[in-house]
């Protein structure tokens, strides 16, 4: 188990280095091939040539890419100082870059916005796991029943609706029409009730989409598992149906669900871009979207790294959980 963990952590670290390289490639090489001046895009559209030149020098943009990537990597642990002549900007460790457009270091932006996104993703995940998996299991057990057919119609509609459209519909209906909820984000530290009230609609909207996907997958997996020999054996030896379903069938049904959960949760924690922009939540997704609109590359880079990291970690946790849940899986 320990050896497995160490190997996986090592693989995750390698993957992260690969991702840093790819991200650097995307932001520094692709524009170069395409003939776009990166320094200019760091400064702004109407920048004067002197400012562009200053940024180019500060960021070492004329250096080879691997040197730039190394500087970036070093900055995470040691901090960085960008200096041209008398103009000095210090970015203390952990330095994930410095945004010259908004004149702030990237790391504080990330830590400010992370709790919002984390709260959104975790709250929604609880909802969609409970409702999606329950609906899927019930459908599989009562296959062809009225419940099964209506649940699957709703699920099919759920996966066919763009999330920002359901979000806008729920805003128009519940926040503007019925005035049940306030569509206003309140930080958790400020007021627990206010935070909860502001998050209910985003949670439900996000959870609806994922619950629909999970219900479909759970139903299909559960039906497949119920046809397995070991389920017949469990029934044949006289176990109660509740034990057969709840213990024997559920365990292997949950394996693919967990895989999905790892990927989905990891990606959401790195920024639920569509949900955050629909509900105007100040999370990582909104930060990256604003950064993209302003062509603020250092912030995009920081968020991409955080997202990749959370996807990798979530996948690792899921793989360890496999061994706990599914008795057929042994980690070696």
């Amino acid at each position: 188990m320990l050896a497995y963990l160490i190997r996986r952590l090592f693989a995750a670290a390698v993957m992260l280095v690969v991702i840093i390289m790819v991200v650097f490639g995307i932001f520094f090489l692709v524009p170069k091939w395409a003939g776009v001046d990166i320094a200019a895009s760091f400064v702004g559209k109407q920048a004067d040539p002197a400012a562009v030149e200053a940024v180019r020098e500060k960021l070492g943009l004329s250096d080879p890419v691997h040197l730039q990537a190394w500087e970036f990597f070093k900055g995470i642990f040691a901090g960085r100082t960008f200096a041209t002549g008398g103009d000095v900007v210090h970015c203390s460790a952990p330095c994930f870059g410095y945004s010259f457009k908004s004149e702030q270091a990237v790391w504080p932006v990330l830590t400010d916005r992370f709790p919002v996104t984390l709260g959104l993703a975790l709250g929604a995940a609880v909802l969609w796991l409970v409702f999606g998996v329950a609906a899927g299991v019930l459908s599989a057990l009562k296959r062809g029943s009225l419940w099964d057919r209506s649940a699957m119609v709703v699920a099919l509609a759920g996966v066919s609706l763009p999330i920002y459209f359901t979000g806008m519909l729920s805003l128009a209906t519940f926040a503007f029409g019925l005035k049940w909820f306030d569509a206003q984000y309140v930080p958790l530290g400020q007021s627990l009730g206010g935070w909860f009230g502001g998050m209910i609609l985003p949670w439900i909207t996000l959870a609806f989409l994922y619950a629909a996907m999970y219900a479909r997958i759970t139903r299909a997996t559960m039906m497949e598992v119920l046809g397995e020999d070991y389920i017949r054996t469990a029934r044949a030896k006289g176990l109660r149906e509740r034990t057969v379903i709840g213990k024997h069938a559920m365990r292997s049904t949950m394996t693919p669900i967990l895989t999905m959960l790892g990927m989905d949760l990891g990606a959401l924690i790195g920024g639920a871009i569509l949900t955050e922009s629909t509900f105007n939540l100040p999370g990582l997704g909104q930060a990256v979207l604003n950064a993209i609109r302003n062509q603020d590359l250092p912030i995009i880079l920081g968020v991409v790294l955080i997202t990749s990291l959370s996807v990798l970690l979530a996948n690792l946790v899921v793989d360890v959980l496999y061994a706990v849940i599914d008795p057929r899986v042994r980690l070696t």
Binding site: M15, V18, I19, V23, I26, F27, V30, P31, A34, G35, V36, L156, A157, V159, S160, L161, P162, Y164, F165, M168, L169, L171, A172, F176, Y210, M213, R216, I217, A220, T221, M223, E224, L226, G227, P256, M260, M263, D264, G266, A267, G270, G271, I273, L274, S277, T278, V288, L289, I292, R293, Q295, I300, V303, V304, T307, S308, V311, L312, N315
Partner: protein, 335 residues
Amino acid sequence: MTAPLHEPTAEAAPSAIEEAAAVGGNAKPVQGRSLGRIAWERLKRDRLALTGGAVILALTLIALLAPVISNLVGQDPDAYHEDMIDALFGTPKGSLGGINGDHLLGVEPVNGRDIFARILYGARISLLVGFLSALVAVVLGTVFGILAGFFGGWVDAAISRVMDGLLAFPQLLFIIALVSVMPSDMLGMTGSSVRVFVMILVIGFFGWPYIGRVVRGQTLSLREREYVEAARSLGAGRFHILFKELLPNLVAPIVVYTTMMIPTNILTEAALSFLGVGVKPPTASWGQMLSNAIDYYDSDPTYMVVPGVAIFITVLAFNLFGDGVRDALDPKGSR
């Protein structure tokens, strides 16, 4: 967002052979039928899937004939109708977002462009990106999947690692990042056509591992079959075995995963345009209409509902059709 993870469902049911015999009728002697024929017979009996297919066909026609249809109703997607707009609020005059005999689905707030005409033109972008990016994914996924499965060894290891890596990437974020760093003019194209071209390539690129993994898995099991052995012993070359012997047997999973992928791609295009990194104005796109409508969800709900429903119907039709194709091609399926 999660990409298509739909596994073909295995349903405990009478085998295809028994079923084929039953359908063959009592009076007529049992005839051998090809797998494609069996699948088609099953698909023909799946009314939901047929409805989905009919809607897809209709949407394709609408997209192809968008200029003709908008001419017929006498509306240009880019023409302003400021006389339709309430000067004080900027919202359309009249009820339901300005729906009347001229403007079948109302007009946009502020500039009064005809929503019906813009929906027609938006269908072109949605379907173009949806189909072509799936094509890119299928070509890449099939080629790399079949190579990985057939040659094994380091070829397989390398391709599999790349696929795993791509699947672990936060895709929407990378797609947004890639689309946004692309220049606004390239290869002699400008404006929206660049964006459409880039979206097709990028969405297709992030989609190929889904097909690649399935093709690889199938190839692994198929290459050990007797008929491949037979072809090899008759002196067939690698190229012949790959493309004449293996590929025809991979068509079913490829078709299933392609039909599953198109609706996801359509949603991704809409999301990109919604976020402002898709097609550029004034080109009409459903996602972009929704993103403009977000400021008017209380004062002009029609503007939001029309493109939302358009996306919904399109994606639903593809999903229904995809589910039907999957069930029809599933050798274990009963329907």
